[in-house]
Amino acid sequence: MAEAMIKAVGLTKKFEEFVAVDGINFEVKKGEAFGLLGPNGAGKSTTMRMISATSQRTAGDLHILGKDPNQKGPEIRAHLGVVPQSDNLDRELKVWENLFIYGRYFGLSRAFLKKKVDELLAFAQLEEKRDAKTDSLSGGMKRRLTIARALVSEPEILLLDEPTTGLDPQARHVLWDRLFRLKEQGVTLVITTHYMDEAEQLCDRLIVMDKGRIMAEGSPAELIKQYSSKEVLEVRFGSTKNAEAAQNISGLGDRVEVLPDRILIYTEDGEKVLKQIVKLGFEPVTSLVRRSSLEDVFLRLTGRQLVD
């Protein structure tokens, strides 16, 4: 059995009276890609800060690499790679210097870093930008540089806080590809995200968080199987007609969710339900049959969407 890189028991963080993280338990194994999924304010980033040993817990136990971050913060941090939510690159420095200086923080020798910087530039596909200042980089490039920077010390665990927020779809896919490669190399990844597709793509296992608590835990496939149906039929009748249509089709499928702009019908066969709706005399303006996703899991668990 793989060793636990991170173990949290009853992990709690309070800011005065506000409980940001409310007694959560989880474990991350070596080489695993572990996700914290939830909407803004769910407690993901606060949990991440405790894991990154820069925020002390209020209660509970937390061990990272077998050490307590409240006691051994700097020692733990020396073995972590952290990719924060917003890039904090040195704007005055060139791309290669950002990697070099970060490596120097860990006391890595200049000779080692000379080689490592080239390797990381290749990994991040930034070789042509080597001598550019970071201000001239696109958002996706900055993100890749921030990830490359976090890898300079060859961390045991890479923590990524909302790694693709604000990136266009192409940049996100390039970044996912790089993260996949890290996973293949056996790097333990901990990722917070509010994008279900990102969690599905990258995570072996994840916890769904809401209001500081864990709502569910498992692999993306397990969660979908447990909390949703195989398919989802999305139908739109127009904003004024959705409510009336929903009343009449509520018996169809396993479950019906009425959202402000559309109705979701959870079923094993979306096409079949669509035909039944038409038979009942309702003609949707648009319809879509799709596979269930983590978004549906979250909706089921909390009654809310991930991205409001």
Binding site: R49, S52, T54, S55, Q56, G73, P74, E75, R77, A78, H79, L80, V82, P84, S86, N88, L89, D90, R91, E92, L93, E97, I101, Y102, R104, Y105, F106, G107, L108, F112, E119, L120, A122, F123, Q125, E127, R149, L151, S153, E154, P155, E156, R178, R181, Q185, G186, V187
Partner: protein, 280 residues
Amino acid sequence: MNSTKMTWQGAAQIVDIKKAIFWGPWYVAEQRLRNMSKWLVSLISFGLGNPILFLFAIGLGVGSLVDANAGGKAIDGVGYLAFLAPALLAGAAIQAAMDETSFPTLQGFLWEKNFFAMNATHLTPNSIVIGVLIASLIRAALTTLLYEIVLILFSAITWASVLPLFVSAMLAAGAFGAAMLATASKVVDDDGFFAIVGRFVIAPMMLFSGTYFPIASLPIYLQPIGWISPVWHATNLGRVLSYGLPIEPWLFAIHIGYLLSMFVGGSLIAGRIFAKRLDS
């Protein structure tokens, strides 16, 4: 496509944690020095240009007037340039230290947030504080040395006084740099704070600290401004060390004690504020 397979030994193999923690402040200073290196030409130009302008305008202009009217050794028994030199050096060193502890602190916390990047490694808030101070002292040392070269060329100081004046200027830089670092680390929104500091702290400090005339020439109710100013303590110390201004031993001890206390106190306070902001 480039080969993206990386060599990977793991942090446990490549990071010497004890060495990394011990040298942490120096690694922070390296980051600041590399930032500074981007402005090296400007730093050297200002480092040489400022004293040249000051010495022509104040030293030679005002100095020749003072020496002509009051005699060549009218103030403390030395010429006006020799009297002025310790104050100019202290002022220049303070300015350099302020440059490296004010806006770079906002850069670290607000604009680029690179203090948070440092704190994500094993570097602690105290390592960062010490590192920023080391870098500010190196910058102040460079400025002071450039200033001293110009002072030597103007025959304002002797070779024998180069080292003592350097020490007094560095004490001033350390004291003011630490105080400024503690102050700047409290700033959460850059709303012209440093313009206010420049106008209402730096300017009065330079004017009422015995920079251009002995502090005793001021009315007694204005002299306390000088007494609390690191510029006066460093300037008076420099005058003692460079041309032997006679002062009581207790006052000599107060000058050194005041500057060192300001350095230590400012550093400790800065460390606490950094910790509060970085480790929430």
